[in-house]
Amino acid sequence: MAFSTDAFSRRQLLWGGASIAAALALPGCSSGGGTDTPKGSAGGGDPWKQFTGTTINFISENTSPSAAIAANLAPFEQLTGITVKVQQMELDKVVEKCKLDFSSGTAQNHVIYADPYQILAPMADGLADLRPLLDSGNYPGVEGGLDDFISTQLQATGTFIDDKKVFALPYDAPTMIMHYRRDLFEKYGDRARADLGFDPTPSDAMTWQQYLAVARWFNQNARKDVKYGIGAQAKQHDSLQCDFSNVLWAFGGDYFEKGQSLGLRGSDDPGAVTVGSAAGVAAATFYRELLSAAHPSSTTWDWTGLADAFVAGEIAMCPNWHEFAAGEEKAFPGKVGYALLPKGPSRRAHIFGGTGIGINANAKGDELGAAWLFVNWATSPQTQLMSLGSKVGGGTPTRTSVYGLPEVKAEEGRSPSKFPNIRTAQTVLKAWQPENIGLRPKVSQWVELDTIIFTELSKMLTQNADPAATMAAIQQQMQKAMQ
């Protein structure tokens, strides 16, 4: 037997390996085209049953509405024969998984909790346009039509730049309002009023300066019942940007020249960055002062940490998402009040954190059809009513028709109530009015901008940095990120 004596040098071997690797690495793939409208073969003509036997995955932030849906999937599974697996996690992780899923060209997750700022705007290409599904005769119609959704919420959570496309249907509508311990204000209200010269109970009339004064009064006079007057969600996290934005807008500042108009449809041309304006600096100066009076652990709390602290009786009041009301009603039945956020020199603003649910553009065939049936069902009035009364929390409806139901109206003033979140209804309905709503700019770079904002604010709060320098740093970094 003879062996060849031809030889490869180590260098040749390495080059060969690298060339093979490069050749394998370079090819791209493309996808595109409109959304299909598949028709299932099962169910014997019942449009809800046509995808019986299909299994789909729903990925969501760990919010109350998703907890309620996950706990009550049986009606959907009975109605359609479709199995739904719900995964809930922190929003950061949802964003990461969606990015990987969309990029892979597959649909590991079919139904997506499409946060308008962190998923819809930066990854709109990864979501299916729902318009063909809405218009198709293959499926049951959306009850009440799109007009039944609160229109600003449909625009803010469902569209991006192109109004003709709908990427998601409004699913939840958390909005920041004031949560306060009514029992504490009943006990200390008269004394505080006498000392401060105004009604300390949070109301439409309260200003941010008064809010700060009440916080300090509680810190000095009510330690026996509550550790601190106020708390904040000032962890280096999205929550810090949300908390600060309420103050920024109230003081007349905004992130971009085009301001609030960017929050509905979004834009790829938001105008100049304006956060470093005089109004922005005034807002940052006030916010730092506010945090100096807040519970010292505020810089470690996101919205959940703040809600836990409120429920544990650590603070007397705080701005937080209204959907935390259900947990608070359990801890202090009938003792929690809700009000609009304080006014600033310019306006009052309540940041809107609502989200829609959409479908992964990579979903095809029966999975796409099943996903659409689930989106339709999960945002329907009946499901929203179920969610409102869920024992695991639930959300508040994104459908106007649900607020008009007699059984819902009857519960608005009750505590304990079978629909605990509806106790916030009067307040959030006012907060959603155009002059009161606070909308973040819906631009594809938002996650990076958000990170810049909360990181610099965190430095300001924990290292006592100068507010003007902080806002200048945010302005400069945002400009760089937008280039």
Binding site: A7, F8, E96, M123, S297, V447
Partner: protein, 327 residues
């Protein structure tokens, strides 16, 4: 029928002298200058697998570091030259993050090695109940790091945390995770709590392998405990110390879970070490995988340099019979 085979030594054989019995420093045989085709063919399956697992990702990573990468709607790389490199290497936040990573790395590896050695020495001297104590000591390392992070966060939470309440009872009201000065030491402590047992386990194995006769000889020569430890035990444990160092170092460079679960990089970026920065570029920000690739490559270079350093300090003098080759 049996055939007798003579086992007599050849006439030229002579008994080895005492000097010949000493282990000789042997010259390493030079490898052949090229690989023969047959040998290459035999290695091809393994080389293919190796290239799939390491070369392809590496080449992709290098390509990405010189490109703007889009993944939605199909992967596309647009060549941008050195833009990513200059952007990342010119970013003061990245250097600040590297500095924090170094502080973190040195502190946890040093603490884990020292505490691990201490625990191993104590366990080694335990005659009764060693298995039970060892099982208890090892418990933290069986937990998932993200669980350990959450545990730390909850224990230190000012509202519900047991440690926070104990600290408050002792007069320390400050929230340890709220201050940039204390957040990194706390996060490092959580890591030390989880991974010191692993170092202890590795070093305990090393201690058990030191020949008792050597230790007895040292005792007979009058060496005390610490002299024996420093002059006999630790030098004999150099290879096993190297293993512990490499295992923990490679892990520490990639440390992510506990920081994410406790502080998410805050407050004021005080705990934002390089892996978190990489995660931000890769998974949070839009179309910045190129910058993530640059950070990944710098982490790789750092790991290689570090491993070489450890090998130089702890590996060279470990040459034993197995390293002498077959000459």
């Amino acid at each position: 029928m049996s055939v007798g085979i003579s086992k007599a030594p050849p006439a030229t054989a002579v008994a080895p002298s005492p000097a010949d019995r000493r282990p000789r420093r042997t010259r390493r045989r030079r490898p052949p200058r090229g690989l023969k085709t047959f040998e290459f063919a035999m290695m091809a399956p393994a080389l293919t697998l190796l290239s799939v697992l390491s070369w392809i990702p590496f080449v992709i990573l290098v390509a990405m570091s010189f490109a703007k990468v889009r993944t939605l709607g199909g992967v596309s790389l647009t060549f941008t030259g050195l833009d990513n490199w200059t952007a990342v290497l010119g970013d003061p936040a990245v250097w600040a993050s590297w500095w924090r990573s170094l502080i973190y790395f040195v502190s946890i590896v040093a603490l884990e090695m020292l505490l691990g050695l201490g625990a191993a020495l104590v366990l080694h001297r335990l005659l009764r109940g060693r298995s039970l104590v060892l099982s208890i000591v090892l418990l933290p390392m069986f937990l998932a790091p993200v669980m350990v992070g959450l545990l730390g966060r909850f224990m230190l939470d000012s509202t519900i945390g047991l440690y926070a309440q104990l600290l408050q009872a002792a007069g320390l009201d400050a929230d340890l995770l709220a201050s940039p000065a204390t957040a990194l030491p706390v996060v490092a402590s959580i890591d030390v709590w989880q991974w010191t047992p692993l170092v202890a386990l590795i070093l305990l194995a090393g201690l058990s392998s030191v020949p008792p006769s050597t230790l007895e000889a040292a005792t007979v020569d009058g060496a005390g405990y610490f002299r024996t430890l420093v002059s006999i035990t630790l030098p004999q444990m150099r290879p096993i110390i190297l293993v512990a160092l490499l295992v923990r170092s490679m892990d520490a460079i990639r440390y992510f879970d506990i920081v994410t679960a406790t502080t998410n990089g805050g407050p004021a970026d005080a705990t934002k070490i390089i892996p978190l920065k990489l995660y931000e570029y890769a998974f949070r920000f839009n179309n910045q995988l190129g910058k993530a690739a640059v950070l990944g490559l710098t982490m790789l270079a750092f790991s290689i340099v570090l491993a070489r350093l450890f090998l130089r300090f702890f590996g060279e003098r470990t040459a034993g019979p197995t390293q002498g080759g077959d000459a």
